[in-house]
Symmetry: C2
Subunit: 617 residues, 2 copies
Amino acid sequence: MENQQHLSGRHVEIQHKVDLEPVGRRALVEPGMTLLDAARRAGVEIVAVCGGAGACGKCRVRRVDGELTPPTPVELRAFSALELAAGHRLACQARPLSDVKIDIPPASLSTPQRLQVEGQESEVAVDPVVQPVDVTLVPANLHDLRSDTVRLTDALAEQAIPRPFFDQPVLRDLSAKLREQDWSVRLALRRHNHRGEAVGVLHPEQALLGLAVDVGTTKMAAYLLDLASGHTLAKAGLMNPQIAYGEDVVSRIAHANRHSDGRHLLQARLIESLNDLIDQLCREAGVIHAQIVEAVVVGNTAIHHFFAGLPVRQLGESPYIAAVTEPLDICACHLGLKLASGAKVYLPPNIAGYVGADHVAMLLATDAWRAQKPTVALDIGTNTEISLAVDGQLFSCSCASGPAFEGAHIHAGMRAAPGAVEYVQIRDDGVRLQTIGGKPPVGLCGSGILDAVAELRAAGIVQRTGRFQPDHPRIISWDGGGAFLLAPAADTGNNHDLLVTRRDVNEIQLAKGAIRAGVEVLLLEAGLTAQDIDTFIVAGAFGTYLDLESAIHIGMFPSLPLERFKQVGNAAGTGARQMLISAEQRRLAAQIIERVRYVELTVHPGFTTVYMDAMYL
Amino acid sequence: MENQQHLSGRHVEIQHKVDLEPVGRRALVEPGMTLLDAARRAGVEIVAVCGGAGACGKCRVRRVDGELTPPTPVELRAFSALELAAGHRLACQARPLSDVKIDIPPASLSTPQRLQVEGQESEVAVDPVVQPVDVTLVPANLHDLRSDTVRLTDALAEQAIPRPFFDQPVLRDLSAKLREQDWSVRLALRRHNHRGEAVGVLHPEQALLGLAVDVGTTKMAAYLLDLASGHTLAKAGLMNPQIAYGEDVVSRIAHANRHSDGRHLLQARLIESLNDLIDQLCREAGVIHAQIVEAVVVGNTAIHHFFAGLPVRQLGESPYIAAVTEPLDICACHLGLKLASGAKVYLPPNIAGYVGADHVAMLLATDAWRAQKPTVALDIGTNTEISLAVDGQLFSCSCASGPAFEGAHIHAGMRAAPGAVEYVQIRDDGVRLQTIGGKPPVGLCGSGILDAVAELRAAGIVQRTGRFQPDHPRIISWDGGGAFLLAPAADTGNNHDLLVTRRDVNEIQLAKGAIRAGVEVLLLEAGLTAQDIDTFIVAGAFGTYLDLESAIHIGMFPSLPLERFKQVGNAAGTGARQMLISAEQRRLAAQIIERVRYVELTVHPGFTTVYMDAMYL
């Protein structure tokens, strides 16, 4: 209204449209306002530790279209010439000169905003393995006594569809559905070797849906998709309930080994939670469970084995062998999943005992697997899986990076929740913190602890070996190794000092050292050096929202120009969705496995030396 | 010892060897002794109501080899010239003149003996769908991290065996077995479309076994077979526990419809009992459940549906439609059957709602289905399924013959157990009864009531309409319709008079009328008359042990020369065993279905008239 008035009135005040992608919001701004102002006006929270003073350099965005004011001196210092040429800007500095379109990378969004955009729609051609066939039968009578399946098969033959396989659970539904629906049904037909398999019986007006799930060691994310359009109808997330049995998969395997029904209990807890997610998705989308006729579930190999009810004992003992690496199709009903009666759950192939189908899904979603120029793709977690693609070959490894980046084993560590410090700036004049939700600081989440260590090192408060500079005024005595006072009790939400301890720094050294060593060993295997890397893809929740400069600063990532890095969000979930809506994507997943050479770090001759080096800050 | 002494001594007394088939016993007899004496000496009980006086004509046997005394006048009266030419004799009359081999038809064996021989070994070429493959793998180590399935697949490839499909339950066993057995396993590989499916993982010394089951409405029979030789290792029988929910399938379907979990309860009871039988078979044969890698289960369509967990509601309502008629392979683990982890249960095809896979198995075992000359094959039960084969075509129908022949709805009816009257002779000088086990008469089993009615009719005590001759001294007043005193209380095992009531005669009229009408309608459909029937096959427990002459006498079977009849025992069980040990037999079962034209009696224009006629005695 207000805007229209302006346009129709005499004294038209100029406004520029600012389209903010990928969140899909638009703001109207007056000349002179910054992109940061525009984002705030649209309700999009961009990270700005310094409060928009141009001091922190966190509010990075990229111009996609339209005209902006020229780069300021602050921006000329913050970016390389290449980055500026590519449109990189600081949101607090750049001002629109026309209507513009801006891309906000996930790392520049505050945590709650990120969660809304993570897991983008994939862009593969929609061609799911399950397709609908509508059919109307001649009703049975005493002169036409064909069985229900024969009658249905005959009607399908009229549509030139060969007799499908009917599994038990579908046969249990079919007879009643035919009679309730006046002999008209929509069959969900799944491609199955040389003939189709009927996996669901629906009403001709019900759409066929699919479920894609990424089960992480800590979190699970589930997506409900329309199989006809490939669109995501609803998303939902939950903690992985197995955390109660161990925060990493090694302790969960140990738990399963110690208890006679441990493996089944861990499977059951997973299935229960997934059923809760399915309930939630169905409610949100206004659909019924029977419409979900196919599912894809990705996770690491241990999660995969727990989920499928496969043995895990041999995964927990050297040489850490997967029972199965080939793709599996499991009947949802045998797992106890609340989907269509005959729905199958597709589990993509695993690479090895500690490189699972979630990594395959990530390689697929990022297209990293078929990169011709040297490309590193990794997914940071308690276990970090890394692949190096070059000339159509893939080298993959796994390293135990530990749960430090998820806030565990860190003195003031916490998950990414309101009050968690996510960005840290340490200057001579003091310490600046940005917390999730702008709340008083409660603890440090993964990106916060990473930033803190990087800043402590940059300020010279921490030495290369990880030892504190004992003279610094903020270093206090703590548990034999000292600690840095990040925020005094008066400023925190819990009336305790917020500390970064010597042991915290050590945990980060172990974690980042393992990751860096993994990258270096793969480079060695391929006969390359870090500088040969053309693209460095960082996937997963933490990996996407960490500060790249901090990660490079502490040596977790090799020192490459920032434009070579790509932070891609939950690519495993995106890959799962791609395999849900496209049979071709499943074939590609099989090709990925063919190309992989798995490198076992623990027996690699160069590993120990590389690892020792990589632990220095 | 004794025999050797005779042969080596001076005064050698001649003895003849008498081989008794199919029981497989041998007797040595002195000249002058009868075949009945020989059988008694060998512990084989042959039916002889008259005690060997040549009066009852029940002790029929057939000479296979060797020389016997010429037929006596009694035998010349008992047999036709054709029968005599074919070697038929009375065991109480014929005496060996050399070593001889004698075939004792099931009907001539007393009940306990019959149960031992019923269900003959089949003679099909052994070629089961599951075959063993022994394989030894290179153990996994840190330099060879292939998953267990890939390692196994690679080893199979060396034997030119394509990668099999591994279903979940097998994958659950595989990893532990490989390690426990030092990486040597015997895989049970099942033919499955274009590649094999691994259905069991065993030790290389363990034989692969199969289970064949015939589930009748009243009884279940299970057979454990060695899949390599095709031999039966053990047999066991049990009552069908579903009897508690109705003695015929119609009442069981009604029960299932009335109770929300009725269908699953009826399935569960069946599975429990079958698991008991499996336990018993494994104990007897000294094997473990995991060795049973394949099963075949036959039963009528309702039993089939209950067993497979298929819906039965539409089977119980006109037009009585089967949910499925095609053959099914069901995972034993999903049924809860205690077999090898991946074992499949093959359910052969059904013909219609009331002609099931057990009838198909019978047609297969008897070869009736491909007879060129007109052949009738039927299996008498609560429901009687009848097929007429001629010129490569099959006409099949089903008739509700009721449970009278199983002793139900008969005043003094009982199952074939010790004390049950199995044969009856009524002469002017009195009534002779033969009971199972020679015990005092407790009641009448199926063949006893059939004999009684036939003898009552022959003696003129019952009229064509089923009414009693009221003047007869043994006719007493009973419940408005009178009753015949078969044995006074003083002679019975329970101090009650043993009676055949007017209502009993009526039940038999209804039952035999339905069966005869079914035969006649099929003949009408084929454009034949009863006299055109070349072979008349009677299968099933009761059908095999009934007295053919009695059955003809009361008009249940058409009046054909006795040599045209074949009483074949539990042919359904034999057919199940054939399909267990031979893939070819399963293909033939599919061919049978192709050839059948099902005739629905209830809408057949000629049925009512034929049925009314057929009820006369």
